[in-house]
């Protein structure tokens, strides 16, 4: 209710925001589309991780711990230009396992559609075809490797599967739970409303990250990665239902007294029918906006939970557990590419935030 208030007030006192939003309408669909297309693209890329990533997420090359990003070359040591980029074979220099040198005599051309590690796409198609890569003695780590010599780019793509979809599914879960409980509270009112909203308030009051971790605490620590994934999603989803529930309740409460609802009730419609056909569809816009607000929050939640070692575990990558090794001082200082999993969410968050902003403006202009 609290954050519904200012909106309602501004509607009465000042009609100008609606007018403004209306006048600037031409520019908007395009801007909305930009963020939307970017998000669709990144989700598709991440889903196709097996094909796009040159290596599998758990392919280790112990000869290349913390190898720096491999450079793609067009001009070779003799100064000759090549149309197709190539890489030099990289070798450890000395015994200290930190310095690498490029061997000028051994080159490998960048290949497209070559065979490599096997993978399963979308849980159904088995394949070993990769979009790009290099043949065996050489290796191509475009974003470097981690301490086990695993390709950071491949792990980022696979990790995106976990992190992005964890956020998405958890938000869907939260919004669904919020819709259900908020609708019931708003529809039946009285005692039911009181209990449901007090309960929601508890979830909103507690600093949600503490609650999240505490709820996680009461679940077993040693579990398989798939279970961990589902567990983290459901915990995040459950902890976050309070806010959407409040929003839905507010919408239903005001819609309940509208004429078409009263008319339907007059014709003998039951509460359940009213909710399904007339009231819940009204909440769609609010919930869509709420989704775009919650998803980045929940992606971050998964990242942090995995970062703290309470989420998805090795060898499966998530942006959070990939970042965990950067807590070691020598890794943090020496290998900047280990911080990339922390940067990866930034464009995603920017897109979601811009989407949320646009949707909120639209709701305002509709009211």
């Amino acid at each position: 209710m609290n954050f519904l208030k200012p909106r309602a007030e501004s509607r009465h006192s000042d009609p100008s925001p609606a007018k403004k939003a209306g006048s600037g309408f031409q520019g908007k669909p395009f801007r909305l589309a930009w963020a939307l297309w970017f998000l669709v693209a990144i989700h598709v890329v991440v889903l196709l991780a097996g094909f796009i990533a040159p290596y599998s997420f758990d392919t280790q090359d112990r000869l290349y711990p913390y190898a720096p990003p491999t450079h793609l070359h067009f001009v070779d040591c003799q100064g000759k230009f090549h149309l197709r980029p190539f890489v030099y074979v990289t070798k450890l220099a000395g015994d200290n396992l930190t310095e690498y040198t490029q061997d000028c005599s051994q080159t490998a051309r960048m290949e497209f559609f070559l065979r490599g590690d096997g993978y399963t796409l979308l849980g159904a198609f088995h394949s070993n075809l990769h979009l790009f890569g290099v043949e065996a003695p050489a290796s191509m780590f475009l974003l470097g490797t981690d301490g086990f010599g695993r390709d950071q780019l491949s792990r980022l793509l696979y990790g995106g599967q976990v992190s992005l979809f964890a956020g998405f599914i958890a938000a869907a879960l939260s919004v669904l739970a919020g819709l259900l409980l908020g609708a019931i509270a708003g529809m039946y009112g009285g005692r039911v409303d009181d209990v449901a909203m007090r309960f929601a308030e508890i979830f909103i009051t507690v600093p949600w990250f503490y609650l999240l971790i505490a709820v996680r605490a009461f679940l077993p620590l040693q579990i398989s990665p798939i279970t961990a994934f589902l567990l983290v999603i459901s915990v995040i989803g459950i902890v976050g239902w309070g806010r959407p529930a409040r929003l839905v309740r507010g919408v239903i409460l005001s819609a309940r007294e509208r004429n078409f609802v009263l008319a339907a009730r007059g014709f003998g419609a039951s509460n359940a029918y009213l909710l399904r056909r007339h009231l819940m569809p009204l909440t769609f816009r609010v919930l869509l906006t709420q989704m775009t607000v919650l998803i980045p929050q929940f992606i971050l939640a998964e990242v942090i939970v995995s970062f703290l070692g309470l989420g998805i575990g090795e060898p499966f990558p998530s942006w959070g557990n990939m970042l965990a090794s950067a807590q070691q001082y020598h890794v943090l200082v020496s290998y900047w590419w280990m911080l990339l999993p922390g940067l990866a969410p930034v464009p995603v968050f920017l897109a979601y935030h811009s989407l949320a902003e646009k949707l909120q403006e639209r709701i305002k202009s509709h009211i």
Binding site: N2, S16, T205, A214, I304, L332, L339, V346, P347
Partner: protein
Amino acid sequence: MIRYLARRAGHGAVMLLGVSILLFVLLQAAPGDFIADLKLNSQISAETLAGLRAEYGLDQPMPVRYWKWVESSAKGDFGYSFAYNTPASTLLWPRARNTLLLTVPAVLISWLIALPLGVLIAGNKSHWMDRIFSGGTSTLLALPDVLVALLALLIALKTGLFPVGGMTSASLDQQSTWQWLRDVSWHMVLPVAALVLGLLAMILRHVRSSVREVLDSSYMRAAEGHGLPRLKLLFRYALPAAANPLISLFGLSVAVLLSVSLLIEVVMGWPGIGPMLLEAILSRDLFVVIGAVLLSTAFLIAGNLLADILLYVCDPRIRMQS
């Protein structure tokens, strides 16, 4: 005033009670406990385990355990830490103080920066200013807190200007209060800066948008038309009119800060509630977990209560209502 405050405080107390019950119900549903982990040690006999279980009251049903915990909380113990063999409160209090040492300055500093800056930006209606502002705050909002914490650590490691993690320097054991204070505040710089960075963008946006809304109103236009000086217009007339939602935001900012603080404490090795909570979770030290979550909730409720008091002082409408 007293009645209004008492009502709000009562509400907070009910909230805390609800949270504690919720946590206990969750605890009941959880598989395994501290004793279950001891079972792995073959030197401890089954009888000893059963004895321990009875001693800690873990063999009793949930309502009984809850009541026992309420009793011990009333005495100020807040249950018992299995791992450290002390009342949970002896672990919680110093940690709570350390967390407050970070969060209170962070809240104050971010509001002190965001309030004047936000008002000034709201007053500047140039297109470019808006662009820069929205670009800057969106970027700040999109930066994951983990990354901010790690970057702060990186700065400490690379420049060597600031201490790397921790709250005090180990070498300075015997020292005067003044030295201790200087040492701690030196350690505070980076964590507090990271917290401020995590909070600033959100507050700035709200300050700007609510002041902007007031500036668009007819009475502000009238005041502008009468030729009032710009700064006086902004700070003397626009800001108080926009204050109401901002004061509510103050309570909310405490919540955001506590969540960010947990992470920063863990990454920067600050001995606050965060690292203790994490450790207690890993060792299944359940009363400490409950205590830590309740403490953070209590901080939050205190923040909201403070916001309520401020609102009461600043907004005559609320005084009229109560």
